[in-house]
Symmetry: C2
Subunit: 765 residues, 2 copies
């Protein structure tokens, strides 16, 4: 009797044996290929095995004890490192972008690495106003070239230098992205959502992407393009999270566990982008993350807080507040004002819907036309147009975040902008400000703001999607802030002219400044951002942290709600989901309802008249298996009892099967093409034929606990299981008999088909 060959692989049974971290003899086990979907249950099971193995060995020696402690702490250490690194990188980017933005206007001859503010500081001049050229140490380019500071000649030189620098920065950014890291373009949030939902895109979070995206975002912000650095900051933070997770095999080698770190990193990204740690965590929870176990909430919060703390210590904005747009006012709002706030929400929703539609149309056009083949040219054209049009208008010439800050601010003694040209006298710094009629400069500023609004809206439509790093938060906030400020000034003048009408409820009759136009700007900004991204709670919290306005949660919420509803009514998706759709990423949205009344039987593969590719538990030869693998492209095969009685035994991944066969051929002498492949323990009854070769037992690569459903299961339940359990596929049975398989791809294609879209637009796994 031929003895069964003991399978002597150093090959871990993925579901039964402890996995030690240094015995990955077959490289690539537990790894996934590019553009594949991960299987959360499998990865989490692997991690639990590893964890138990470490806990069990903890008693053995001091070294193992230390190893156990290291393992227990590695999650915290990892997010600490991610937080620290994110804070530092964000600080560098903030400082660099600020310096380069100023470089478009002039230089500091004493120390060229100073930006304008630092240059003027270093000479102890007071810098209160935001006007250009307010400090003699700072030389504008016209002065460097021997011209005077004022006059037409100087203006033209400044204009040309502005355009030249912008083109230089933009071409550098585009060239770097094109040459070194094509994944570094765009905001990155749609891709990160997809990756966090369990998809593999190799290199998307790699070191080159990190470096190029960090440099590129500084360049593209400095180029004066209509984009922000906040979205890319989330991508950068996720790159940092990914890279640092490789220091901890627990996270680096396990895609499901790695996503815990990435969720925390995304929170840190928003946290540094806006100085809003709580908002960052909620953003990660609500918008980005997919499978967010509550125990990682605390860790994400820690990560976000560390990052914000580091950034605040670096203090790139040079003020006491770590937030971007700290507002100093604290006036109460009047109940009636909820009406204009909701109105702003509606306007914001409409603007957002226009933006998303137009941007999507343009992006589709880029994809399908020849335009997509000239990314660098496109960047240069957009930059040139932006620079030429932006310079003449002071509100578009200044950086977008400066503009937002200006719009959010209250008109006080120190605010000398045209927007604050009211007919009032400041007698005492501390006394309340009176209501006043707007001066002519205010009306001029409003016209310029309307032009700026149109310019920004149009340019952002063309900018979002070009091949440089570019985010959407700041342009959206800016659009909303302009609209809000205009509405706010309108309300203010209404209150000045008719202070006693009922709707102000007596609040304005004292002549005190009862309406704050800056608050309208804030609310408008929240409305457009909410309409564009469809964030809800996290938006309100971010705005609240961003501005320090504790009192204004209700107005912000009213606007955000109105904007979301209007947006949902006008177009179905937020910009990130729209771009996910456009790019065909296999993303199963956890917020959308599955709206069809299908059963699992309608969705599963194979369809009628096709045969299912299966393995049998003990009647196929090595050759049969190889033929099956060659003929099909499935990522896994169900194992059944026999062709005649199709009862389900388990599931085998193609990758594992492949590796096991290669390994077996290398190590087992007696393996022949007609060797039986066994997926069960060999029965005593079943005597092998005397002349048959020894069978190959592959029981340990068999997943004996595949998730199964019946063919009558409603698809809503199936989709729910895919989302909540993070499945890669599920097997469909009827009365115990295997009928077919449903993969994530099948679900996504089915949804597309039902929505009358092309099912083949889904990227396959």
């Amino acid at each position: 009797m031929v003895e069964h060959i003991l399978v002597a692989f150093n090959f871990q049974c993925l579901f039964c044996l402890p996995v030690s971290s240094d015995t990955d003899e077959i490289p690539g086990i537990g790894q996934y290929e590019d553009f594949h979907t991960i299987d959360w249950q499998r990865d989490i099971a692997r991690d639990r095995m590893r964890h138990r193995y470490i806990v069990k060995r903890k008693q053995n020696s001091l070294f193992d004890l230390v190893k156990g402690a290291h393992d227990a702490w590695s999650g915290w250490v990892c997010v600490l490192l991610v937080g620290l690194a994110t804070g530092v990188v964000a600080g560098v980017i903030d400082i660099g972008a600020s310096w380069m933005s100023d470089l478009k206007h002039g230089i500091c001859p004493q120390a060229f690495w100073f930006n304008r503010e630092q240059c003027c500081w270093s000479n102890n001049e007071s810098t209160v106003s935001l006007d250009l050229g307010n400090c003699s140490q700072w030389l504008t380019w016209s002065e460097v070239l021997g011209q005077s500071r004022e006059g037409a000649g100087a203006y033209i030189i400044a204009y040309l230098m502005y355009i030249a620098w912008a083109l230089l920065f933009a071409s550098l950014a585009a060239a770097l992205v094109r040459m070194f890291a094509p994944y570094a373009c765009g905001s990155g949030i749609p891709e990160i959502k997809t990756i966090l939902s369990g998809f593999i895109i190799r290199g998307y979070l790699g070191k080159w992407t990190l470096i190029i995206k960090s440099v590129g975002i500084m360049l593209s912000v400095s180029a004066g393009l209509s984009l922000g650095k906040e979205g890319p900051m989330v991508h950068i933070a996720c790159c940092i999270g990914n890279i640092l997770s490789y220091l901890f095999p627990k996270y680096g080698r396990n895609e499901a566990k790695k996503r815990e770190i990435l969720s925390a990193a995304a929170a840190a990204g928003v946290s540094v982008a806006f100085g809003a740690p709580i908002g960052g965590v909620l953003f990660s929870l609500e918008e980005v993350s997919y499978y967010f176990p509550l125990k990682t909430l605390w860790r994400s919060f820690f990560c976000a807080l560390v990052a914000a703390f580091v950034l605040r210590s670096i203090n790139p904005f040079g003020n006491e507040h770590s937030v971007l747009f700290y507002v100093e006012y604290n006036n109460p709002w009047i109940f009636f004002e909820l009406v204009p706030f909701v109105g702003l929400g509606i306007i914001g929703g409409v603007i957002a819907a226009i933006f998303i539609r137009a941007n999507l149309y343009w992006c589709k056009y880029r994809k399908t036309s020849k335009l997509g083949q000239y990314p660098v040219t496109e960047v240069l054209v957009v930059t040139a147009v932006t620079a030429v049009l932006a310079y003449p208008n002071p509100y578009t010439r200044m950086s977008t975040s400066e503009l937002i800050y200006l719009l959010f601010r209250k008109c006080g003694v120190t605010n000398l902008d045209d927007l604050c040209d009211y007919n009032r006298n400041f007698t005492d710094v501390k006394s309340a400000i009176d209501l006043a009629s707007a001066g002519p400069k205010v009306y001029r500023a409003m016209w310029l703001l309307v032009l700026a609004l149109i310019f920004k809206l149009v340019m952002t439509i063309f900018t979002f999607g070009i091949k440089v790093p570019c985010g959407l938060f700041i342009p959206s906030l800016c659009l909303g802030a302009i609209v809000g400020r205009i509405v706010g000034i309108g309300m203010e003048q209404l209150a000045f002219n008719y202070p006693t009408i009922w709707m102000f409820g007596g609040e304005c009759s004292t002549g005190k400044d009862c309406i704050t136009p800056g608050l309208y700007a804030m609310v408008g900004a929240a409305a457009v951002l909410g309409g564009v991204t469809r964030m809800t709670v996290s938006l309100v919290v971010v705005m609240f942290e961003l501005t320090g306005g504790v009192r204004y949660i209700v107005p912000l919420m009213a606007a955000a709600m109105a904007s979301k509803w209007v947006g949902d009514a006008l177009g179905s998706h937020g910009v990130y989901d729209a771009h996910i759709n456009l790019n065909g990423y296999p993303f199963l949205d956890s917020k959308e309802e599955f709206a069809h009344t299908s059963l699992a039987a309608d969705v599963m593969q194979p369809k009628r008249n096709e045969t299912l590719s299966v393995l049998t538990q003990d009647s196929m030869t090595v050759e049969d298996v190889e033929v099956l693998m060659k003929e099909t492209e499935h990522n896994g095969f169900p194992v059944i009892v026999s062709r005649e009685s199709q009862y389900l035994v388990g599931f085998v991944l193609r990758r594992d099967l492949n590796l096991a066969l290669v390994q077996a051929r290398r190590t087992l002498e007696g393996l022949r093409p007609n060797s039986l492949v066994l997926f069960v323990n060999s029965n005593v009854q079943q005597q092998p034929q005397p002349d048959s070769p020894p069978p190959l037992s592959l029981k340990n690569i068999l997943d004996m606990a595949p998730i199964t459903i019946t063919d009558q299961t409603p698809m809503e339940t199936v989709v729910d299981m895919f989302r909540k359990l993070g499945l890669r596929q599920t097997l469909v049975t009827h009365n115990g008999r295997l009928l077919g398989v449903i993969t994530k791809k099948d679900v996504l294609r089915y949804v597309k088909q039902m929505d009358n879209e092309d099912p083949n637009s889904v990227l396959f796994n």
Copy 2:
């Protein structure tokens, strides 16, 4: 040939036909019995059917359109109503409790319904100090009884009146709870966690509980017991949510959907308890809710915000800030201070662990000894002891929230308490305060605080669990605030005596007030509360909203983290989980890992040598089914192909089977005990015997999509499925053959058994 009787039930197929909301002909379908676990998937499927039915009918008529709109909006309307009602009830409770608390000390003769503050206000006297008797309109009981305000006689009268009122209030509270609503006692949070995890406790959220709990909490707070009204506020809000959900059949008749409203209500409860809407939502998300779909996050936030807004409009605290303990300081903290903050976290964790252990011991003793039979007596004894011991010490005589506020405050010009008896002169209100040495009264106050700490700790141990409404938040905060203030004063004096040593980093050398003892009190309060409840993110956010201290997130977080880790190291559970355990509620914690390496086969019922109670699809008679139902107590039965080939067909609930049989006996003429019961469509081949009665088809009560797993599935995966999919049971198969069933109860009992606890302590469903 006998024709098959068409089953003409007005009995909806739960999984295939649209359910109209007014055809529940068989009462109780879709309802659950008391102390049963709900099946989320089933309830959600029912809701989806209902929703589709309404959407489909929308085109039919205007009425249906309105109905559809009403249905779409009912979730928002419901949470709006819940928010409004919660705000109003919270306002009434706050005002009532404040009035009754003052009644212990005296009365306002002009208007007895005024509390002391309002009484003094009504006469335009300025009330700055917190001392008693500072206003001539307010009469203390000794004055009412003709004594002077000062002197030994007056003191004794005041003392006795204090005790008398306390006993009166406490006995009233205990009597009300005992007579009308036994569920109104305690904090209610453990039970709400259990209910939200999918358990039915009838009456726990009913109107009587609401009324008695609202009145009872006012009484028990006024009685001066060591308890807070914040936990019960969550229970009250959930009662409101439950009652109002009956206005909307979508929520009232569907247990799974109702829990969405309850989650929002819990958020509103915390929101009004602390004036912290964001913290409330996070509390609901992190601590209370179980199955929290992200789409309800936004609705919970809305509910919490409405409630907070209403409460603020009622303004029960009479100040501008809607928060309980608004702190006005904004001093930066020194990096080195993180060391004492973490120290406070450790102390807080230890105090919390002592409290939980002692309280649990006492509660167990109450349950097992005769003490449990005299709840009213116990309340009276505890009240008497509390009143007698509390009165002499001014810090325990004042209400606990006043004490916390005092401890959180900074010593400024207006703060005349002994705690602020520093050797300093206030020259200018606006100038910075200098560091100063503590005067003798500060040391006296510290001794009194130490006594207060011991008193509060001991009394809270005995108080939490007595049969009156009582919460834990305020006593925990108070314990921590006392410890924190003491440590803070110590640090402050250290800085005063050695201002230049390295650890203060030069911050204290200017003589400015660099250490804020009130901040230490805040951090200490967070530490103890964190240790007791094991809240993390929500704790930090609540504290941050509670005090308005935006700057202090990092210190709060450091302390909360240290406290949680120390607590986890010393005792495994937070107080709510400990009480859930103590009471044996079937709660499957979603935060705890399932630590054992079992497989589904180890946990499932029946064990070896027992037979599984099953139905067959087409071979059992009505009599067989009735015998099976009589002989077993299972809540449901799997249906298999036949005894010989045990392949799974579906699952039938006992309740549905019962109802269907009763209905069939009532409406079908030809039904006889030997009628066959069919769970499949009758086959053509299978001709009924000529003389046999017509079979009864029960296909439409069969769930043809039960969730199944294989016997080799690791229990972690099974537990994960129970949690995430909200299962009630799952069927275990091997190669398609049914082996057994795992219910939630089986899992809980197994966990208990593995932890060497009594598995029978789990309440059965």
